[in-house]
Symmetry: C2
Amino acid sequence: MADKYDRLKLDNQLCFPLYACSKEVVRRYKPYLDKIGLTYTQYITMMVLWEKGEIGVKALGERLYLDSGTLSPLLKTLEKKGLLERKRDEEDERNLIVRITKKGLALRDEAVDIPLKMGACLNIDAEEAQTLYRILHKLMSDF
Amino acid sequence: MADKYDRLKLDNQLCFPLYACSKEVVRRYKPYLDKIGLTYTQYITMMVLWEKGEIGVKALGERLYLDSGTLSPLLKTLEKKGLLERKRDEEDERNLIVRITKKGLALRDEAVDIPLKMGACLNIDAEEAQTLYRILHKLMSDF
DNA sequence: CGCGATTTAATTGTGTACAATGCAATTGTA
DNA sequence: TACAATTGCATTGTACACAATTAAATCGCG
């Protein structure tokens, strides 16, 4: 019963489960992230800052695959929350540096259990998770 | 060098590559979708209509994992483009039915090559694609 | 050195996503 | 059969995403 439109069926797409799973996982983070007052995008931004302490907006965008249209307002929001500081690079005034604050660093202790809680609520075993991780990273090596 | 914050590192997340790959794949569709005047979300909506001809908004939302807040304006946009008609179910006026138009059906011929073109521009072989598909669908079975 | 090209963040405009709320139609039940 | 509960789409408000444009700072070449 193959017809020339078979490839256009939703069930035959790889993009759609990727898109649907991504949204669902973000949705499942929400209850935990609400408790610490972050959105998902703010959370991955804080992850980078927890690890690096400070970073330029350009490098941050490359790490998160986000551009300034997304990051500029988001970083201002996080500054308003007192989690980071924004300052111009004195060497080159074009660059904006974001640096984590004490309050931002303290938030890490409230976030530390989130990854385990999330893992527990996903229907995936360790081996499949690792396979998924590997394939997705291989895809990303091409971006 | 393991510390208690290791799980909070971006590189140790499964959610992040999922999120990044999903966005990147949608971004790569854009040049092809621009040619037929659809966004990605409009494209997957049309996929359902190409297959089913007509469907209620509730069932459409369940199929795409989207709610009325997303679908209501999107379906009005597609109606304005002349690709579908919106009408109330005469049996139960609460239900809105969307039905594809001739113009909407004709668009399928312009879209038919998109899945192959997309497949060609992703750095993934057939076996990995199948594994990825299987794992993501297993995840989705839980939504 | 002067000045056009490049780099970088910010802004603007469009289109999702989704929680929360509103509201009209229908259903279930006393 | 009233009427409270439920259902289903629409609306509102918030927050991304990202393309395109702008504007300021720096670079590089003649």
